[in-house]
Symmetry: C2
Subunit: 131 residues, 2 copies
């Protein structure tokens, strides 16, 4: 069930290690490939189960717009910012912004349960590189 962050299984730890070592989100099948390199035969459910546990533990997120996974901590409501040049992803806290969205929708009778906010663009470092 809801896994707490202090007790990862070895599959989970291995997946998390790979995600943290990467500088961009990885697809499930990229992770699968890495694990097969490490250990030989590994099947997709092994990866997906680890991803599910890590997500429930708040250690990773699926980046919906990339169909990939990133070790973005559970800034929980939060904004994910993605550089389309270098691939880096980071979480940004924006409580007041999300609160105003919440108010806005509540006023219309909508009971908000969760949001996905992903922003694409170019990060500062990559902008400098172009300059």
């Amino acid at each position: 069930m809801g896994q707490s962050a202090d007790h990862l299984t070895s599959n989970q730890a291995q997946v998390l290690r790979h995600l943290r070592a990467a500088n961009a989100p990885m697809t499930a099948y990229q992770l699968l490939g890495r694990m097969q390199n490490d250990r030989g035969a590994v099947a997709p459910p092994t990866v997906y189960r680890a991803l599910k546990g890590l997500e429930e533990a708040g250690l990773i997120r699926r980046i919906e717009t990339l169909r990939a996974w990133a070790p973005v901590a559970a800034i929980r409501p939060g904004v994910v910012v993605i550089c389309d040049d270098c691939g880096t992803v980071r979480g940004v806290e924006a409580p007041s912004l999300l609160e105003s969205l919440h108010q806005r929708l509540a006023a219309e009778g909508f009971a908000e349960a969760r949001q996905t906010i992903e922003v694409h663009g170019r990060c500062g470092d990559c902008a400098e590189d172009r300059a």
Copy 2:
């Protein structure tokens, strides 16, 4: 290339008709099934090409969190609000919210290109039904 809304191909019109007739987003393969009912043999690229054209024309959006497609008009940066009970999706304008997010990220040197904002929850009608 960039299709303008006033000249849809017949495949695009057919896909759009089905999306508008539905009260919830449809997956590409649901659309494929409908088109096969209508016309016999239809293959996935037919559907995906129509979806691409409609998206470029600003007539539909892919709902990333549902991996499905909805006729949400081109509220063009906008928030998509999804009721997880009845499945309805609608676009909400929130210019000031997006502007403040833009400012926030610009201050950190991030040049924003596009956002995906999807909010899940329960709509007013469904809340009443539960009451």
